[in-house]
Amino acid sequence: MGMHNMGSYRVAAWLAALALLPSAAQAQTVKARDLSPIEVDPSKVETPALAFAETEDDRRGYDKYFYFSRPGASFADAYQDVRECDALARGVSFHTGTQVPYPYAGTMAGALGGAVGSLMVDAIFGSAERRRLRRVNLRTCMGFKGYTRHGLNKDLWQRFNFEEGNRTVPDEERQKFLQMQAKAATAGRPSSQELEF
């Protein structure tokens, strides 16, 4: 699921770059992340517009521009799901230090943080590959959680989504978008075709 072959040249590039990368001790420190449930009043979260007249350009962009849906899920569950998948897609740091909150509590104590893992990918393939990796991880994670995926017009998508390449989205902005994504996921059964994960 979500697997893509990248060719042997990338492996060679990776091996060459590995020796040049900073050691664990030099890796950046990032702000700890907390996945304990956040109480949000769904009535105060804007429901994003999802209806649009589909064009050929839109269809070509569905690999990047999409939303998830699981009719019947509560807003709270959907919000927790998108937060977990967002966290998994970002990767975590070895160099931060909170105990693991939900959903990992009791499974493996550890530290959480930001996307330190992206240093490796950036060093070899650039931030475009990191953005692609994020999309793939979101699709895989939400797919396992039983959501369907539906294409969206780019302009509509940009109103409640973000990409992380060279910048990290501030947490307040991130949570606002994730809440809107949860609202979209619970907005009812989409009339558009379900896309492959």
Partner: protein
């Protein structure tokens, strides 16, 4: 009273766990001499290609050691913060005394108070990863490695270091097993349908499972079974098949692709993203 205090302090000192250290492992090449040590555990795995990452579950003593190390780091950070705060306050006073706005500038930045939540300190996992190098073959497609005894989780297949990696983690569902001292634990054979950047072939089905929701993922484990090839040098040595059991979610420490292990009949199943212990048909909630 004084004697009791001294005895209590001595007891605490004796009970204090040693500081955590990276795991000591030794992976053997085909021609490398070795003897089975009673204090070490040995893993045999048939895993052609990519490096396999295992994550050892820290023991209670190791967790205590980590906690102590972390508490010490926090105490040091607080001492440092107190100095920084005093310097900041002095600078701020000087800054505020300057009444000319043209020369005041932005002023000093207040240091952030270290807390347990924001302390920059390594995760306990950082010292507990084991890499079974795919290229270091013992015989055929088998790798053989000595590791500290303990419980290990199958973390993923990847090329990685602490700055990140390339590959796949089984972050959304995996298995774990115990590696006993003085014996070889046979992990069986690993099958991968597609590991990014490494595999060029993609298996569409395996043991009746196809790719997709609830089915075949990028990694599957075939437990050790009679008839599975055993390296000749290991055939006469004490060896047990790994007793796998379902294990909970893990963080994506290396920033790689997120996946989960292919369901294992009688061991591991899923309901949506919930990990199910197939032995009891119950969700995996806590650490085994």
């Amino acid at each position: 009273m004084r004697t009791a205090t001294i005895l209590a302090a001595a007891a605490c000192a004796l009970a204090a766990p040693a500081a955590a250290k990276p795991l000591q492992t030794e992976q053997f090449k085909a021609t490398a001499p070795f003897t089975i040590q009673p204090t070490r555990a040995y893993l045999l795995v048939r895993n052609a290609g990519t490096d396999l990452k295992l994550l050892r579950v820290p023991t209670a003593a190791e967790q205590a050691a980590y906690g102590a190390e972390r508490a010490e780091a926090l105490a040091k950070a607080r001492v440092k913060y107190a100095k920084q705060l005093r310097a900041y306050e002095a600078e701020l006073k000087l800054h505020n005394s300057n009444k000319n706005p043209e020369f005041r500038g932005e002023g000093p930045k207040k240091p952030v108070e270290p807390t347990d939540a924001n302390l920059a300190f390594k995760a306990i996992e950082s010292d507990n990863f084991v890499t079974v190098w795919g290229g270091r073959v013992f015989e055929g497609k088998a790798q053989f490695i000595a590791v500290p005894p303990g419980t290990y989780r199958v973390y993923g297949r990847m090329l990685a270091n602490a700055t990140g990696g390339l590959g796949v983690c089984m972050c959304m569902g995996t298995v774990q097993f115990d590696a006993a001292p003085g014996t070889i634990t046979d992990l069986g054979e690993l099958h991968h349908s597609a590991v990014p950047g490494v595999s060029v072939k993609e298996a569409e089905s395996w043991h009746g499972m196809t790719r997709g929701k609830g089915g075949l993922t990028s990694l599957a484990i075939e437990p050790a079974a009679p008839g599975m090839a055993v390296p000749a040098r290991l055939a006469a040595l004490p060896r047990v098949a790994a007793s796998y059991r379902a294990s909970g979610k893990m963080d994506n420490f290396f920033g790689v692709m997120v996946e989960r292990l292919t369901p294992m009949p009688g061991v591991l199943a899923y309901q949506r993203d919930q990990i199910i212990d197939a032995r009891t048909s119950t969700p995996v909630i806590g650490r085994d």
